[in-house]
Amino acid sequence: MAALIPMLRRIVGARVGQHPAAEDLVQETLARVLAAKDRIEPGMIEPYAITTVRNLVATMWRSGDREQRNRHRLHDPNEPRDIEESVVATEEQSAITEALGRLTEREREVLLAHEVSGRDTRSLADETGSTAGAVAAQLKRTRARLRVEYLLALEKVEPPTDRCRPVLLALSSADRRRQRELDAPRHLLECDLCARLSAPLLGRGPTREDEVHVPITSDPDIVAARQAARELAVRAGFSGTDLTLLATAVSEVARNIVKFATSGDVTIELLDQPQPGIRVVARDTGPGIPDVGRALEDGFSTAEGLGLGLPGARRLMDEFSIVSEQGRGTTVSMTKWFDKKG
C-alpha cells in the first residue's frame, strides 16, 4: 500500500498540480483501495488504485472544488444532480469513513500504520510486546470487521438481531469454525439483511472445492441437490453403491424442504476426519416437526400421509440427527463414511 503513494502523488500532481486538495485525493484513494483490498486480485491493486484516483480527480473537476461533498449534503440547488457517478462515489466514501470510525482506536491505528504507512507486522509487534503472528491475525480480524461495517454503512442499516454482526464477521473472516458455532447458514436463511450482505462477503474468497451449497425452493432443486452431492463425492474419489445411497438420502431430505417449508438449503461437505466422508446438512425455515421421534418411526409417515422419508434417509446414511423447533424450522444433519477410496 505504501508503495502506491509516490505513484498516486505523481498522478494527482500531473492533473491538479499544487492544488490544496492533492494530498486529500491521495489519502482518499488509499482509503478506498484499503476497503476494497480483499476483493481485488493482488496484481490488480495498482490498476485499481490508478483508476480510482483518476475518477476522483475527474469527479473533483466536475464538481468544481473539493467542497462538493459538503455542498451535496446541503442539497445546494446549484449542485449538478445528474452526475450519478459522483453520488455513488460520495456514498462509498462516506461508508468507508463511517466504517473506519466504527473500529476501535487501536484497531484503526494498527490498520492504518500497516496499510498506509507501510509498517510491517514485526515492528508493530515490537512496539506492543506482541508477536508478528498475533499482529497479522489482528489485522486480518480488523479487515474482516471493516468489510462488514462498510457494507452496513453503505446500506445505512443497523442489523436487526444481536446475531447479525457475529455471523457477518464469521463470514467476512472465512472462519468456518465460528460459522458453525453460530449456525451461520441457518441465520442466513432467517435474516434477509445478512443473506443479502453475505453475497459480497463470500464472493471475495476462492470458491471452496470441498463444499457445495444448494438453495432449495422447488422441485428441480431436489434433483440439483442430489446431483451436487454425487458429483462432490465422485470428485473426492468415492465410488460404489454408497454414492447412490447418498444421492437418494439427499433427495429425501431436500424434498422435505420443498414439501413442508417455504425455503431452505442443503449443504454438502467433504470430511476427512476421523475418516473420509460426506456430511449433508438440510436446513429449512418451515413450521418444524412437532414430534421428531414419531417422524423417525417407520410407518408414521405413511399413516399420517406426511411422507417425510426420514426413516428411509436415516437407514441410507451412517449418521443422522435432526433438530426441529416449532415455528422456526428443521435441521437434518447426516453423514456417510466411505472406508475405501476408489
Partner: protein, 129 residues
C-alpha cells in the same frame, strides 16, 4: 416433453406401450410422465406396459411411489406393467428406503420385459401381484 430433448418417450408396439425415462426427472416431470402414460394406456387399450428406468441413477420414495401408482392404475385398466432396467445400486437403495415393492413385475432389461409380457399373454404366468 414439448421442447428441448425429450425427457421421456412412449412408443406403441401392438398392444404394448414401451415408456423410457431418458434422464433424471423432478417431481413435476415425474407426475406429468405418469399422467401421459396412464392416458395412453387408456387411449390405446394397452395390455402391457414396459417402463424402462435404466437411465435413472436414483429412485427415491417419490419416484418409487409414482411407479407403483402407474402400475396400480394400469392394472385397473387391465394392463400389466413391467419395470425394467433398475440398476443394482438403485435397487439396493430402494430396499433400504423401504420402497422395495414397486407393485409391478420387474425384469433386467427390455428384452426380458417383452418376453414376460408375451408369456403372460400366452397364459404361462399368473398376473403380477
Amino acid at each position: 416433453m414439448s421442447t428441448g430433448p425429450a425427457l421421456v418417450s412412449i412408443l406403441r408396439q401392438g398392444d404394448t406401450l414401451v415408456a423410457s425415462i431418458h434422464t433424471a426427472l423432478d417431481d413435476s416431470e415425474m407426475i406429468r410422465f405418469q399422467n401421459d402414460l396412464v392416458h395412453q394406456i387408456g387411449e390405446h387399450r394397452a395390455r402391457g406396459v414396459i417402463i424402462d428406468v435404466a437411465a435413472l441413477d436414483v429412485l427415491d420414495s417419490f419416484g418409487s411411489r409414482t411407479l407403483r401408482t402407474i402400475a396400480d392404475m394400469a392394472r385397473l385398466r387391465g394392463a400389466t406393467t413391467v419395470i425394467v432396467g433398475i440398476q443394482p445400486d438403485v435397487a439396493y437403495a430402494m430396499v433400504q428406503l423401504g420402497m422395495g415393492r414397486v407393485g409391478a413385475h420387474t425384469a433386467l432389461d427390455l428384452e426380458e420385459g417383452l418376453a414376460y409380457l408375451s408369456s403372460m399373454r400366452n397364459g404361462r404366468h399368473k398376473a403380477a401381484p
